[in-house]
């Protein structure tokens, strides 16, 4: 049971990582002049859309958290709307945090907002897919020993890795190297993306490595 689930997780994560790599390569066939650094904003949009679509699809196919009760259509719609609102709010929150970190308030609002959308895609969207719009569950998962399945463990790891990646990505911005990737928000979004991909790959390995110690309470 556990092994099969782990294999599923690994496949899903690899698929995500590969899709991110593809977002950097495939659009160049259709759009001329497309490159991750040159037309960064376009890539940000493409990447966020791709990752979110893939995540939602995977979530629908794999059903990592078996919903116990059959819910009505209106219930489903309200859940969906709630999810949208949560996602939007998390974008705003990330935007605010980024501005507090020193991003310009009025200049380059688009860049900042798209970066926050990317961060939300890597973090909040995953939570929404897995846990639904249920803040209590979020708090449980992100407290110290709160993970109850390997999916939640993977969620913890990818979220932390993408935020840490974005955080480390901010380091080279003030330096005087005059590189093209030092322009806001390229280094940060690349950092977050690499962090996310690293998280995707690390998570199954880490769970596999620690499978003896991991005991999930409710299973």
């Amino acid at each position: 049971m556990r092994e099969a689930e782990l294999r599923k997780l690994l496949a899903a994560n690899l698929l995500c990582a590969v899709s991110i790599v593809l977002t950097a390569l495939v659009p160049a066939l259709f759009l001329d002049g497309f490159s991750v650094l040159g037309t960064h904003l376009t890539w940000l949009c493409v990447c966020s859309v791709c990752v979110s679509v893939l995540n939602v699809t995977l979530c629908l196919i794999l059903k990592p958290n078996p919903s116990s009760k059959r819910s009505s259509l209106s219930n489903k719609i309200s859940r969906f709307l709630k999810c949208c609102i949560y996602f939007f709010m998390s974008c705003i929150l990330f935007h605010a945090i980024i501005v507090l970190y020193g991003a310009p308030l009025i200049e380059s609002v688009t860049e900042t907002f798209l970066f926050s959308v990317l961060l939300s895609t890597f973090t909040t969207l995953q939570c929404l897919c897995l846990l639904g719009p249920n803040i209590q569950a979020w708090i449980r998962v992100f407290s110290r020993n709160g993970a109850m399945s390997i999916w939640e463990n993977s969620l913890q790891i990818t979220t932390m890795c993408s935020i840490l990646g974005g955080w480390f990505g901010a380091f080279p911005i003030p330096l005087d190297w005059d590189r093209p990737w030092q322009v806001w928000p390229i280094s940060c979004s690349l950092g977050a993306t690499f962090g996310y991909m690293a998280g995707l790959i690390i998570a199954p390995l880490w769970i596999h490595w620690n499978r003896k110690q991991l005991t999930y309470k409710s299973r």
Binding site: V99, G102, I139, W177
Partner: protein, 864 residues
């Protein structure tokens, strides 16, 4: 046998050893500049021409060659950057100079100044031709007379009459050297015109007279403009035009004086250093080190075409060139080369003679500073050139064909130039060379002492306050002797093999052995302490797992941030933008604190019981630790943490929400302050709120802001002071405002014309009286609480009074647009203590580090 040391004695010993280590390290880090004997020695005779080989023929030209120029005028324009003359600015604002450069009889160069690009060391470099080391800057802060051999001294000794007008640094450096002088002080940086008018007003009179040989003018206005408004300010253009007019006046006057019979005159235009993009100087950016150097004289050939590529020379080259031009011996400490084009109009024999003199002086300097000078490439090259020079003289005296002579002479010239370049570079390198061995010995001592202190802290803080030094264990004494022997062997090997100067090697053997013994003793002490700690830790078996799980995210962040910051100081790019590091770190710290607060408030209630218990255990252990360890530190950090342990459970209701919101409020405050002052290198030119406030149109806004800030400071600080100091504080803050009004920064509502701007000395004194009064009251309360009663409330009042006195002082010293920084600093401190540190029960070490981080960030908030 064991020696028991009181902690006081231990601290004193450590301090002494530490001082020794630091001194050794600094001595290695700041090597003494290349120095010749003091100039008090008899003046060395100038070298004769190299003797031609073979018997019979003797050159009898032994005297110093006669001067090339009758009069020399040096116009030094402070902070003149190369593009101010050669760039588009020069074309626009200095038309006369540009015309002379492009079509007149002149030679232009870009002179490279070595850092530190500060006026006084640069004047020394220009006049001595040597490179002052960093230690010169440290030692000669008040610029006493220049003791080493220099051009001015040589000129005076040769009976030249020197007149000087300008920056009075020269007057201090060369006292009694000038027959006439007028020094202007550069104290008031905001003075753009007066400093230069004071120089120019003498010009007409002096240029008419004939009774001088060397005229030096040092113009400060451009430097002041740079400091206040930057290199791109609209004030630079008019100033350059003014300088252009001065140069025109001097040049025309010099030309009109020149007769057919007498020697021509020379006009030298140079800058002591440039300015950076922000208008400051001192560092090594391109704008700071590149200065123009212009030689204008009718002796030179007329330039035919426009300038193509400007040649780069060293600033130190000026001294030797001028020495030759004035017919003086080259200064002993000179490391520069003669700029050949300047003497290019002379005959081949004279040119060779000049280069020989320069090379001889350089190789003498090398001999005096390097034991292995004979192996030096430059020295060998010079010897070869000298030999071919001798051959050339032989041919010359034999009266050979002029064509052959010229070609051969050019070859010798080239050899000389090559040799001179190599000699100068190897001499300059010695200044920049660190004395690695001394530095390493110093570092080892420093690290050992720090380690020893670190290991002995728990013991020194314990009740007995004693530290045991084991002396007898055979292992350690054997180790001690072995280490001593090994270190001495290393010392011998290093000192005999190193060819360069080494300070530690030049110390007496006895001292060196003493230092070695100290190092080994410290090492043994560290080893024994480590051994004892291991021994102790083995006795009660501990669970390492429990230890590691108690690290919260904030702890990890504090540790990683501190280490990361230290590491970042290794890269100059990070140092330039250090403020960004701090802003980034405190932001992250705030977010981590927010997460910690959330966990504290939500999780403790909702999550399963087990988690709550473990967390609680953690908190309890931290609380205990903070209770027993840090009584003193708490008082010193003036945080009201004393009662934290007791009131921790009573976090409820509105307090909880304020507590949760406080990191966000702090974040917003920091973000606001960040836009107040742009600092650093890359973004310093960006417009910021501070500039907007300080511009003269927004004086009323600034006044309102300053008034509100002062009021807020009063509200935040006065709470826990006694009544007397409350009143004193209020009056003092009023005094601060009226001081700012008196010097014209802010205005009173009833005051509309700001005509009568005084210096504000009375008001400043008024505030100082209150500062002293409040601090005195506080100290008195503290002493009283110590001596008479152990009353803790008295003690805290005293501390708060001292604190508020210091706040008042900083309110006086802060520039008015920076007063919000002080307000936010106090506000954040209050919030942190009340809503973050107390509910989370941080220990003193964590609080100290957070204080330090915020302190650093606030330092950069107010720097512009």
């Amino acid at each position: 046998m064991r020696l028991r040391l009181r902690s006081g004695a231990l601290a004193a010993g450590c301090l002494l050893a530490e001082a020794l280590g630091v001194a050794l390290f600094l001595r290695g880090f700041f090597p003494l500049p290349v120095r010749s004997l003091p100039r008090g020695e008899a003046r060395a005779e100038p070298p004769a021409e190299p003797a031609p080989p073979g018997p019979g023929i003797v050159s009898n030209w032994t005297k110093i060659p006669p001067p090339l120029f009758k009069k020399v005028v040096i116009v030094l324009i402070d902070a003149l950057r190369d593009d101010f003359v050669f760039g588009s600015k020069g074309k626009q604002f200095m038309p006369y100079t540009t015309q002379v450069i492009e079509k007149g009889t002149s030679y232009s160069f870009i002179a490279e100044a070595k850092p530190p690009t500060v006026t006084m060391p640069r004047i020394k470099a220009l006049m001595t031709g040597s490179i002052p080391g960093f230690i010169d800057v440290v030692v000669n802060l008040n610029s006493p007379a220049l003791m080493s051999d220099n051009l001015i001294w040589q000129a005076k000794a040769a009976g030249k009459r020197i007149i000087f007008y300008g920056d009075d640094t020269w007057v201090k450096l060369f006292p009694k050297h000038f027959v006439e002088y007028d020094g202007t002080t550069s104290f008031f940086v905001s003075d753009f015109t007066e400093v230069d008018d004071n120089v120019t007003r003498h010009l007409d009179r002096v240029l008419k007279r004939e009774d001088w040989d060397l005229l030096i003018l040092h113009y400060l206005g451009l430097d002041h403009i740079g400091h206040v408004t930057g290199p791109n300010s609209p004030l630079v253009g008019p100033k350059l035009r003014e300088m252009d007019n001065v140069l025109k006046k001097i040049h025309i006057s010099l030309l009109s004086k020149e007769g057919e019979a007498s020697l021509p005159s020379l006009l030298v235009v140079c800058g002591d250093h440039g300015m950076s993009e922000t208008g400051s100087h001192g560092g090594s950016s391109e704008g700071e080190v590149h200065t123009p150097l212009l030689f204008i004289s009718s002796a030179f050939e007329k330039r035919s075409g426009p300038l193509t590529q400007l040649e780069l020379v060293q600033q130190t080259d000026l001294a030797s060139t001028l020495a030759v031009g004035l017919g003086l011996p080259i200064s002993r400490n000179n490391v520069g080369n003669i700029i050949l084009p300047v003497v290019g109009s002379k005959t081949m024999r004279e040119q060779l003679r000049f280069l020989h003199m320069n090379g001889f002086q350089l190789s003498t300097l090398l001999q005096e500073n390097t034991p292995a000078y004979e192996k030096d490439l430059g020295y060998e090259q010079f010897k070869i050139a000298e030999k071919s020079h001798g051959n050339w003289i032989k041919l010359y005296l034999e009266g050979n064909n002029s064509e052959i002579l010229l070609n051969l002479g050019k070859k010798v010239l080239k050899q000389y130039l090559e040799a001179l370049r190599t000699l100068s570079s190897s001499l300059s390198k010695q200044v920049a060379q660190y004395d690695m061995y001394s530095m390493m010995v110093g570092t080892v001592i420093i690290m050992e002492v720090l380690l020893l202190l670190f290991l002995s802290v728990p013991k020194a803080l314990s009740s007995r306050a004693e530290f045991e030094v084991p002396l007898s264990p055979p292992l350690f004494s054997l180790l001690f002797y072995l280490m001593c022997l090994m270190l001495c062997a290393v010392h011998v090997i290093v000192c005999t093999s190193a060819e360069s100067l080494c300070y530690f090697c030049s110390m007496s053997w006895l001292t060196a052995v003493g230092v070695m013994m100290l190092i080994s003793a410290l090492m043994c002490g560290i080893l024994s302490a480590v051994g004892k700690i291991l021994e102790n830790s083995r006795l009660p078996p501990k669970n390492p797992g429990a230890c590691s799980s108690s690290w919260s995210e904030v702890d990890v962040l504090i540790l990683a941030g501190t280490i990361g910051h230290v590491l970042s100081l290794g890269a100059s790019s990070f140092i330039e933008e250090e403020h960004q590091t701090w802003y980034f770190l405190i932001n992250t710290l705030c977010l981590a604190l927010c997460q910690e607060l959330c966990r504290n408030h939500f999780l403790l209630k909702e999550c399963d019981l087990q988690l709550g218990i473990t967390l609680k255990q953690n908190f309890d252990s931290i609380g205990e630790a903070s209770e027993c360890k840090n009584i003193d530190v708490q008082a010193a950090s003036s945080s009201k943490l004393g009662k934290a342990a007791s009131s921790a459970e009573s976090v409820k209701g509105s307090d909880k929400w304020i507590s949760l919101a406080s990191p966000w409020i702090i974040l917003i405050c920091c973000r606001l302050l960040r836009s107040l002052n742009q600092t650093g290198v890359q973004w310093a030119h960006r417009p910021d709120f501070g500039h907007w406030l300080t511009s003269s149109e927004h004086k009323s806004e600034l006044s309102v802001l300053a008034a509100i800030s002062l009021l807020m400071i009063f509200v935040l600080v006065q709470r826990r002071c006694s009544l007397v100091s409350k009143i004193a504080m209020a009056l003092g803050l009023l005094g601060v405002y009226s001081y700012r009004a008196a010097i014209g920064n802010v205005i009173f509502p009833w005051q509309h014309d700001s005509k009568d701007i005084s210096k504000g000395i009375t008001e400043a004194r008024f505030v100082y009286v209150f500062v002293l009064g409040i601090v005195f009251t506080g100290t008195k309360d503290l002493l009283k609480s110590q001596v008479i009663s152990a009353d803790s409330s008295m003690k805290s009042t005293g501390l708060w009074e001292v604190y508020s006195g210091l706040v008042l002082l900083s309110a006086l010293l802060f520039r008015p647009h920076n007063l919000p920084v002080l307000v936010f600093c106090l506000l954040i401190q209050t919030m942190m203590t009340k809503y973050i540190w107390r509910p989370l029960k941080f220990d003193a070490a964590q609080i100290t580090i957070m204080h330090y981080w915020f302190g650093q960030a606030f330092f950069y908030f107010q720097v512009s």
